[in-house]
Amino acid sequence: SQQGEEDPQALSIQEGENATMNCSYKTSINNLQWYRQNSGRGLVHLILIRSNEREKHSGRLRVTLDTSKKSSSLLITASRAADTASYFCATEVDFGNEKLTFGTGTRLTIIP
């Protein structure tokens, strides 16, 4: 079963605009991560936010976490055509178990 659900399922925006994707999850977490997947490829780690953090930045990425609402958002600023990919949130629930549980993903298309 999948822990998280992403919203929207698909998003198309013009190059240069900002893209926001949301993730909701079901259980308490240790941390939440975002990954990116280009079509037909493996997943690439983008950023991690811990349960005691509210916001984190990395380059053009901004992640927020609201543990009371069990939700996170990923903002990509000044989008580029190369940002076209699927984006997944993933949660680590148990300190003693390293597995990540992935969401359903948002398919982002940047229109040049």
Binding site: Q33, R41, G42, F88, K99, F102
Partner: protein, 117 residues
């Protein structure tokens, strides 16, 4: 190699055949994970190893699925008597404790796409 390597990249099997999928993790990575990704879906956890110990196999969908990592490096995911619903991409990932503690990062291979006819 520099990254996680999976083979074969593509496998077509007739229903009822057995298949074996191989994962070569990044050298020195202690933890190894297998995920199943159906078309248009997120990866679903199957199982994970710490060195040669299989610590969690709760995601394996049936007893037809079996994974091993006998020497704590290369891992094989075996699917017996394949069914059409087994058609998916099987992703392998590995990690090193320092990376997990600091960045949380899993390093993924490009996957093995299994098609069962």
């Amino acid at each position: 190699g520099a990254g996680v390597s999976q083979s074969p990249r593509y496998k077509v099997a007739k229903r009822g055949q057995d298949v074996a999928l191989r994962c070569d993790p990044i050298s020195g990575h202690v933890s190894l994970f297998w995920y199943q990704q159906a078309l248009g879906q997120g990866p679903e956890f199957l199982t994970y190893f710490q060195n040669e110990a299989q610590l969690d196999k709760s995601g394996l969908p049936s007893d037809r699925f079996f994974a091993e990592r006998p020497e704590g490096s290369v891992s094989t995911l075996k699917i017996q008597r394949t069914q059409q619903e087994d058609s998916a991409v099987y992703l392998c990932a590995s990690s090193f404790p320092w990376d997990r503690k600091n960045t949380g990062e899993l390093f993924f291979g490009e996957g093995s796409r299994l098609t069962v006819l």
